[in-house]
Amino acid sequence: MQKMFTLVLGSVFAAVTMSSAMAADSAVTIVLSEELDIVDPCEASRSNVGRVVLQNIAETITELNPAEGLKPRLADSWEDKGNGTWQFKLHPGVKFSDGTDFTAEDVAHSLKRIKSEALTCEIGAKFFGGMDISSTIVDDLTIDITADPAQPILPLLLSTVTIMPAESPMDSYVDTPIGTGPYIFDEYARGQHIKLSANGDYWGDKPAVDAATYVFRSDSAVRAAMVAAGEADIAPNIALQDAVDKGMDYSYPNSETVYLRLDHNTAPLNDIRVRKALNHAVDREAFVGTILADGTLLATGMTPPSTIGYNHSLKPYTYDPEQAKALLGEAEADGVPVDTEITLIGRTNNFGNVLETMEALLAMFQDAGFNMNLKMVEVAEWLEHYSKPFAEDRGPEIVEAQHDNANGDPVFSMFFKYASEGLQAGVQDTTLDDMIAASTALTGDDRKASWEETFKYIHEDLVADVMLFHMVGFSRVNSRLDFTPSIRTNSELQLSQIGFK
């Protein structure tokens, strides 16, 4: 018995000392929700890749700061040369972690590489689809970049492009990324961890964090538990129900917007009264503070409210099941087949509590008199419903989707979601097509005003979709760190911004 007790006590002691040793001094451990399959910086737009690589290993020439707007990073300045061409002056004296100098050639190569056919990098596909990007090297530290068609927000777009050395292969991913950032990629033990250490020759300020270890746990409860147990310092993205510790858990708008995409090509969803009825049937406020976090905003548009051109004057549709029923009745009287069974399609594990959310939505729609069933599908199948080409023989479908736009401009969303050619657009409306095209070409306040018009048109005139929520994310941060997660935490996690208390 005595022996047993000693043993248990010993193990407790060992565990305590071990975990405190892990979280020692100026190294941090970050627990991510899924293992990184690829670490190539050209995939940095994927959030888990971005949290490791973006601005830690590979930097961009411009950088979007949610508070201050677009800031220089590897470029010191830029100017619009007209005809879609912008000239960038690069910061001198920057070196890659392998010792080579950072020059315009690297920028040119990186731009080519994100569009490489053999790689299909996500940055290229996501931000530079449907345009050609070419560059002209003026001198070592000056480069002209041209987009065709012209992009008024090209400097903003370039805040997504990670700069890699000119030697990076065009046809294969790198597994030890090299960049100009404040950290060096040390080791990737697949399935276990990634290790970064501070880059001694970094051109900028020396960060407080010396080294970082990334580990992967898919279960939110486990991630939260790890920070609580001192095994990890930051758990970006934990579930609402795990964020129970006021001292460690931070909530922040995470740039995600949840909405229900309506398919305007099928009856009865092609009738505006039916779409309005859907909007009135949802008690949005009931979700906030219950299934969804406090601080979740009711959405009227596809992008986060911080995006330029977001129309703050729009009001969410009121919860009014009676009106919904009345609208349905009207439509029915006009011969709209409102009894047709509608399929509500949700994506499993899309966000925390998606299942409960969808169940609650279904119940609300059914209460309002809709004939609807719910189908939860995993991502591959979900995409077939969400993205064009749609199946020919589909019935009326409502697809739940979560859209992320942390890049400050609606252009990253509008074309895909609302233009007739847009891959995920349920609407086909030429007026809207024109409005989007016009807004995209404008700059400054004109651009802002034009986007606001567009948002209003979508929300009030077309009633295109059922907009639901601007979501809130939770991160758990060990109290020894001086770090506050922000909207950017969804796509990057700059170690240099972390301090110690």
Binding site: A221, A239, D283, I291, M358, E359, A363, L374, K375, E378
Partner: protein, 303 residues
């Protein structure tokens, strides 16, 4: 005068069986509990369906043991404010249907194939055995994804997935038993009489294999329930608004730290049901084995 000694009078089989069940108190409780679950499964969905799906977002995660509320809330409410007790009773229907369906199908198909493998030519037997090997090594998760990708995630299709993965168990057992029983004297006696192969299989061999298979099936019933809940955990099981206990546990596990009752009660339902099945199967193993039966036949005074 051994030859003319009077025949022992024994009570009817059912009475004898019930008496043996009564001797094993644990198995008795288990049987009673299962009976209750079956009643819930049969009548619960009819009577409580509406109650169990009535949402109340503002009254979510109501804690258990609040006896001032309707009895359906005595075990608390779930994340959408629905009464847990009512949901558990309603979910019993699907849970039992999935498990019973899967066990029945795999038992039927597995036994048939096993009998054929055990009593026919070497080639057929080899083909069937290789098939069993393939099924055994086929990842059941992939199977689930395939079936539920092509077909909607209904109870029926879940049954298909689970049934296929369990076929080899019965197939192998049935085959092994057949190989043994076919050599027994009474099978030879039937052959001497000219009995056809189907008659030998169904009339002579099957009744002897059956007790073993039923014992395994009882155990498997528990296994299938757990497998179903695992699929739900991975998000490829049955999908809401359908409910099973497994799904309730899976949905509730994210609230473990804040509202433990969400996954605790359905988890308990699973544990109690599988435990009952295991106890009953244990009892059956003894009751159906002539060499062990005496343990249950002994008068209780010595117990």
């Amino acid at each position: 005068m051994t030859d003319s000694q009077p025949v022992r009078e024994l009570p009817s089989k059912l009475v004898q069986l019930l008496r043996m069940l009564w001797r094993d108190k644990l198995a008795c409780i288990a049987a009673a509990f299962l009976l209750l679950v079956i009643c819930c499964a049969l009548f619960g969905p009819m009577m409580l369906e509406d109650l169990a799906t009535k949402q109340n977002l503002r009254g979510r995660n109501a804690p258990p043991f609040d006896f001032s509320k309707n009895w359906t809330f005595w075990l608390g409410g779930d994340a959408l404010g629905r009464p847990l007790l009512a949901r558990i009773i309603v979910a019993a229907g699907n849970t039992m249907m999935v498990a019973a369906g899967a066990v029945f199908c795999s038992l039927l198909i597995g036994t048939t194939l096993g009998m054929i493998a055990g009593y026919t030519s070497k080639l057929t037997s080899q083909i069937i055995l290789r098939l069993a090997d393939v099924i055994m090594s086929f990842p059941s998760l992939l199977l689930a994804v395939i079936v539920l990708y092509m077909l909607p995630a209904s109870v029926g299709n879940l049954v298909i997935v689970l049934a296929i993965t369990r076929i080899p168990v019965y197939l192998r057992t049935a085959r092994a038993e057949v190989l043994e029983i076919r050599e027994r004297m009474f099978v030879q006696a039937a052959r001497v009489m000219g009995a056809s192969t189907p008659r030998i299989i169904f009339r002579h061999i099957l009744p002897l294999v059956f007790p073993t298979l039923i014992t395994i099936a009882t155990l498997d019933f528990a296994f299938v329930m757990l497998a179903e809940s695992s699929l739900s955990f991975l998000g490829i099981g049955i999908q809401p608004p359908e409910i099973t206990w497994g799904l309730m546990v899976a949905q509730g596990r994210s609230y473990l730290t804040s509202a433990w009752w969400l996954s605790f009660w359905p988890g308990l339902a699973i544990i109690f049901t599988t435990l009952s099945l295991n106890l009953l199967s244990n009892w059956m193993r003894v009751a159906l084995d002539p060499q062990q039966r005496w343990r249950l036949e002994m008068s209780t005074q010595n117990d």
